[in-house]
Symmetry: C2
Subunit: 587 residues, 2 copies
């Protein structure tokens, strides 16, 4: 991409002067709108295209269920959402954000160049003949199977195993690019589960549409399922879509799972598109309700983490880590040379993050969730007495030197996503004495997640994807210097923090800007609209030396308990425990 290395816009040169004289009161390039559909709420931001600054924003909490999630007391694996919440959420959050922006000097609705949308996923929605969600029809309003199947719905674990088995048996390479194991969270598992457990809903559904595709289609009036623009991000990472094998898995393969799945494939418009493309233009009806002019270009949708990576400044050599309850670790690699299959990655999809590059996704299945678990279940009163237990534990843990607790943990309380791709692994803590304190264990758990992070970095590099820079974003990166310093020391690399606290919404706005023509490419937009904070966590040499030693021990446990190759007799141990647990719980 040599074209993008030139500075595309010389007007930036004048910016310092403009600022100096307080003249920065109008955007030269205009604005874009980013709409970020999270698990519990939707956030809309209006972004200045000159510098990526958010000039207005609004959050709308989904009104249905528990914090927006529809649950089934009989099945703890089930998690659905009311699709009407998404539509109401768009009108409320965007309407409010646009109103707020209107109070800022320099903003006018007609300066809105484009709209981008990111969502959770895989969150497939069964839709009717004209593309509207079945769950919004009166006869299906109370039927959980007719709602959106939220990403974290795990009811379809049996179907997932069956699909994996079928891929292996059919010798198709469908899973080579996504870790070798199909997940219960993904598109086909959920649809197959619906077919088997809620056949009436399945029959009534004309097609299945990812939330990331549904929103742009709704905004642009392009809901007809047979022509609805599908995004490559959801398709490639969750539906085994790849242009090299002709799109979705072939009909013979799907028919062997269930003949009815063939229809789902036939009503799925190919080819899937990258998110710099327009899904269409804002309809007059939607525009009127949010105070915008009609016909604004709307970008093809993608997943939150992937647009977040763009908002954080991802580029070749830059690892973006979104660190929250779990992590998503993303890289991009140029497509001018063949990329080897990287074992254990969740996904490698051309164009899923930045058009024209491979998008590589890895992740840790629990990070903040482990710290929260420890605080909830195992932290004595004296920590809670002085406020947030996390803060007090952190203060005590920060006083410890690396290695001095004698503790070592594996970060597998929720299984291991990368590089082992094994949800049936569990936690491990070693080195306890009669003097071990809660703060020592808390620190060991933080260190364990850092060792997990390093394992992902090493895996990328082992397969030729150099990590020259790490940019962190998400709640923990924003708020927790203690954790970030340990990550820097353990990984022995500087840890940078994304400048924007809302990287997903910013990423969506960037795609809106590119789809709307304000920038020629995502990379060009990123150079203007993204950046990192001045504060960089740099590794301390002493700590890094101790952690290098501890990491060798971590790897011995990691390989011994997590892989069959190591010649240990521990590989099956965690699974045997889980098998015993399952049997004992059934009684």
């Amino acid at each position: 991409m040599p074209e993008e290395t030139k500075n595309p816009c010389s007007l930036t040169t004048f910016r310092p002067f403009a600022r100096l004289f307080g003249m920065k009161n109008r955007s030269k390039l205009g604005f874009s709108l980013g709409v970020d559909y999270g698990t519990n709420s939707v956030r809309a931001v209006v972004v200045d295209l000159d510098d990526g600054k958010e000039i207005a924003g609004s959050v709308f909490d989904y009104p249905s269920g528990e914090h927006g999630v529809l649950l089934d007391p009989k099945d703890p694996n089930l998690a659905r959402q009311n699709p009407a919440d998404y539509i109401e959420g768009f009108f409320r959050s965007v309407g409010e954000a646009v109103r707020k922006a209107g109070r800022r000097r320099g903003f006018r609705p007609d300066k809105m160049v484009g709209i981008g949308v990111d969502t959770t996923g895989s969150t497939p929605i069964p839709v009717g003949r004209h593309g509207m969600p079945l769950g919004m029809q009166p006869s299906f309003r109370k039927n959980l199977a007719a709602q959106a199947w939220l990403w974290k719905d795990h009811a379809s674990h049996e179907e997932a195993a069956e699909i994996t088995e079928q891929v292996v048996r059919s010798k198709r390479g469908y899973l080579a690019k996504c870790g070798g194991t199909y997940s219960s969270e993904w598109f086909w598992s959920k649809i197959l589960h619906c077919r088997r457990t809620a056949p009436k809903v399945f029959e009534a559904a004309y097609a299945w549409v990812e939330l990331a595709d549904f929103i742009p289609a709704y905004l642009t009036g392009r809901l007809e399922p047979d022509a609805l623009p599908r995004g490559i991000c959801a398709a490639g990472h969750k539906a085994m879509y790849n242009d090299s094998w002709g799109g979705l898995p072939d009909e013979a393969f799907l028919a062997r799972l269930d003949p009815k799945l063939v229809e789902v494939r036939r009503r799925y418009a190919a080819p899937a598109l990258t998110a710099d493309r327009q899904a269409g233009r804002l309809t007059a009806e939607v525009a009127a309700r949010v105070g915008l002019p009609p016909d604004i270009p709307v970008a093809v949708g993608a997943f939150d983490a992937h647009m977040g990576a763009v908002g954080a400044g991802i580029k070749p050599g830059t690892l973006v880590k979104i660190i929250g309850t779990s992590t998503c670790d993303m890289m991009v690699a140029p497509m001018d040379r063949e990329l080897p299959d990287v074992p254990g990655l969740c996904g490698v999809v051309p164009g899923s993050i930045i058009p024209g590059m491979y998008g590589l996704e890895a992740g840790q299945s629990a990070v903040g969730d482990i710290f929260n678990w420890f605080v909830k279940q195992l932290t004595p009163e004296r920590y809670a007495k002085r406020g947030d237990p996390h803060e007090y534990l952190t203060r005590e843990a920060a006083r410890l030197a690396p290695g001095e607790s004698g503790l070592l943990a594996l970060d597998w309380n929720n299984g291991n996503r990368t590089v082992l791709v094994d949800p049936l692994l569990s936690g491990l803590l070693i080195g306890q004495t009669l003097h071990t304190t809660a703060a020592e264990i808390y620190r060991a758990l933080v260190e364990a997640t850092a060792f997990g992070a390093l394992t992902i970095i090493n895996r990328f590099e082992e397969y030729g994807v150099q990590v020259r820079e790490v940019i962190n974003c998400g709640g923990i990166a924003e708020k927790n210097p203690f954790v970030m310093q340990i990550y820097a020391d353990v990984c022995n690399r500087p840890m940078k923090i994304s400048r924007s606290a809302q990287t997903c919404a910013l990423g969506a706005a960037i795609f809106g800007a590119v789809a709307g023509g304000a920038y020629r490419s995502v990379a060009q937009a990123q150079r203007r609209m993204t950046g990192v904070k001045a504060k960089v966590y740099r590794p301390e040499k002493k700590a890094a030396t101790v952690y290098a030693e501890l990491y060798r021990l971590y790897r011995r446990l990691h390989d011994g308990f997590g892989t069959p190759q190591a010649g240990e007799n521990y590989y099956r141990l965690m699974k045997e425990l889980i098998a015993i647990r399952s049997r004992c719980r059934q009684r």
Copy 2:
């Protein structure tokens, strides 16, 4: 011992009638006194020789230091005691117990047949030319090295390692019967440490006497060190004494550690005696101060756990477990056949528990201490709110089925005493998820100690010492049905509880009775004076089946992390962590 299988005393036949008519108001055989020197206090009990019932008792808390222990803020390993506390403790506790007994019908001081004494150990005391403790001389009163070196004093760990090395290098079998490793808690380590760090005290000390030997010597006026009666229990278990190699380690061996140790050996009267023998008779002076007649026989002293085993009814085939903060596991075996060396046992000493039998000692270095650690460091407020956290955790943990938590732990927070004899092992917990609760971990820790208990039972049986019965005593056995049921289920054996809550003092009283001639043998006295409670914890089949499966996993972890033979690369892992910890703490 065919003589002891006959019923020695037909008068028991009349007992039920006597009770029925309220006639049991006088002891036919008289009484004995048991004096039990613990870590924080001394307890005296007056026991009815007919049935072993305690008719009066008194406890005296040592007044010096913290709960009787002299500490050094500069050295956390140091633990000493003021020997004057022992003497005052005898007068106060025994005086009070005898006074109380005097208020019971049937008791008269002249019916006191004998006195037995048990103490902690190894607790050596430096004494002067005439056998009185140096620490009681004005010039040494404030010198910590001149006091009694309490069993749990670990200041001498370097000397212990040196002694072990010297035994190996000299190819002497001194440690074959005590686990292969000399401990910092033991006799010679402490004396050598005194020689090196407090040479003035060492020079002033004419001899070194175990507390278990000092008390009987003091009571009988036989303090002259060169003739002071030494007990086989302390000598055999802690000072590498064995008649087969001529008593204490030979002079050449000791001289290689330090030439001055030869003098210590020369002032040590051999042969060491079993505790059914008289150390002497109560002096008029001591007798007058506690309200007893003079000349009552006083038995040779022994350690608390060993006399406790006797008080609990130990005999061939019976394992006695004293379960408290740690455990002591004891068996006896007839000496008519050769006993193989049992690897990992703390000690095998002829006559140390019951005269004429091998005394076998094993133990777990932490049991109640692990539960206490968990409650102190890792139990959230909601458990404490409702009273004793142990009770509330137990209530919740008791509701869980075996295996259903998916957790497994190693009980090594304080190292492993038997069968691995390795103080540098540490704890391990495996199987945690994001839903694991404190009660689940608490139960896993209890189960881990039960697995440790089973490992000891198995080790005895692997070497031909059959365990036909398990009798438990100590605080946990007395008060914790939850723990005892898990022990029954894990070991798949009935768990009996000793009838007496004060088995150590009762055991001492039994030795007093035998030394005083009321019974011909310890076994004969035991049959009359000891017993078990009606409540027996019996294994539940379902639980035992699950635990058999979990124990196989426990053994894999146990052997993998605890032994080099298993071909795992984990054997060094805990030690490497501890090495890192030591280095990091020094900085």
